[in-house]
């Protein structure tokens, strides 16, 4: 029996970052859904029910905190683990994201691609 591909929703407005992570994860056997803004992110989360969401915080239309709050108050999506992947750094942001229900908070500038992929695998294990 062929194992079903795990689905990852990547909400990120920087296309180059999407391409780098998306290509790597696809090569590792994951299905990637990429969207460029917060509103589209919420819509695709409800439609596709991914196994994991990678979420940037500074986003057009709806920012990452709004997206996180909506996902975690919606019965259908509240159990989907969310990794916040951002360059906003500061105790206030981390606390707020964790309080809203994020699983992990990663600062992009502090991680290599391999380290991010490792965190994704851990969250999906």
């Amino acid at each position: 029996m062929v194992e079903k591909k795990k689905k990852i929703l990547f909400i990120e407005d920087e296309a180059t970052l999407q391409k780098a992570i998306g290509t790597f994860l696809e090569a590792e056997g994951y299905e990637i859904i990429s969207v460029l803004d917060g509103e589209a992110g919420i819509a695709r989360a409800n439609k596709d029910m991914p196994d994991l969401i990678l979420l940037d915080l500074i986003l057009p239309k709806k920012d990452g905190f709004e997206v996180l709050a909506e996902l975690k108050t919606n019965e259908a999506t509240k159990k989907i683990p969310v990794i916040v992947l951002t360059n906003l750094e500061g105790i206030g942001y981390v606390d707020r994201a964790i309080e809203l229900g994020a699983t992990t908070y990663l600062v992009k500038a502090n991680y290599t691609l391999e380290e991010v992929i490792q965190k994704v695998k851990e969250a999906l294990a």
Partner: protein, 322 residues
């Protein structure tokens, strides 16, 4: 001492260095105010004695007028302090916004190079790989510089420490040595690690402490001579855990030692040895250690080497061991 006094008294130079006009410069306005105050008291006394002996009301009015002038100048001094504080705040905000905006494209470059080097887009020739590795190194330097600028902003606004928890200095050091081992190898520097005693946990912010340890070991490698040895040692006493990093490198001249913790300062010999560097590492490291209640210092002799050290208080539950 005389040099210091003349420096402190040279108000024009101070105002010029701060790039503000003389009439907005608080030290200048302050001196003017003092001068007017003294002359006001003296001239009121003389005028009252000589001309208005019979009419103290006029003397009182003159004194009142002079008080009004000093009040206006006082207001200008306060206002210029406000403006300077506002400019400083705007500068911090600019650095913070610019740095955050720079981090996104820099992360994109880092991850794209990671992706290509991973081979997932197809194989590269040895030459292409080497070019990409060089690119990656340059990009890492930019990321470090941006991170340093953000750290400086945090130091200046008192937010450098993000969390305090029990931390094992030994574990952080081991990890850092592993990460820097290739860099040491490339520079032909041996790294020696010694921790004989059982080292207790200290209280700190693990990510910030890693920056300190990384800076000290990185400096020891960078400023050693090829074939040299850098020794990292962790010890403890009743109250503190102490780390020393000893190198046999170029050392620091006596005249430059007092400036080692200044922001952006780079010693002349260091510039000759390594053109790359921002002069921010030690400034940030000392601020981190002091914010955690510790001390960071060094001893150095030119052409013989340096010993950099820091100590931090042991985490209260003494039974915690690493």
């Amino acid at each position: 001492m005389l040099k210091w006094i003349s420096g402190e008294l040279n108000i024009f130079n101070q105002c010029k260095a701060n790039r503000i006009s003389i009439w907005q410069c608080p030290p200048f306005l302050f001196v003017i105010m003092g001068f007017i105050n003294i002359s006001a008291v003296l001239s009121s006394y003389i005028a009252a004695n000589k001309f208005f002996v019979d009419d103290p009301m006029i003397a009182a009015l003159i004194a009142l007028l002079i008080s009004l002038i000093t009040f206006i100048i006082g207001y200008a001094v306060v206002k210029s302090f406000d403006e300077m504080a506002e400019i400083s705040q705007m500068k911090s905000e600019f650095v913070s916004i610019a740095s955050h905006q720079l981090r996104t494209p820099l992360s994109a470059i880092r991850w794209t190079i990671d992706l290509i080097l991973s081979g997932k887009l197809g194989p590269q020739t040895e030459e292409q790989k080497n070019i990409l590795i060089n690119l990656q190194e340059s990009n890492e330097r930019m990321i470090n510089l941006v991170n340093n600028l953000l750290d400086i902003n945090r130091i200046e606004s008192g937010r450098i420490i993000l969390k305090v928890e029990p931390v094992s200095i030994v574990e952080i050091t081991k990890k850092t040595i592993t990460e820097l081992s290739n860099f040491a190898l490339a520079n032909n520097i041996g790294l020696e690690f010694e921790n004989n005693a059982e080292i207790p946990f200290i209280q700190g912010d693990p990510e910030r402490l890693k920056i300190v340890i990384q800076n000290l070991i990185d400096n020891a490698i960078k400023f050693s001579r090829s074939g040299g040895q850098a020794k990292i040692k962790i010890t403890k006493d009743k109250k503190n855990v102490m780390m020393t990093v000893t190198d046999q490198g170029i050392g620091i001249s006596k005249t430059e030692q007092s400036r080692m913790f200044q922001k952006f300062f780079r010693a002349k010999a260091a510039l000759r040895q390594q053109t790359v560097g921002s002069g921010l590492g030690l400034y940030i490291s000392r601020a981190i250690i002091e914010s955690l209640g510790g001390k960071l210092g060094f001893q150095s002799e030119e052409n013989k080497g340096s010993i950099f050290w820091f100590k931090l208080p042991i985490y209260p539950p003494k039974f915690l061991k690493s």
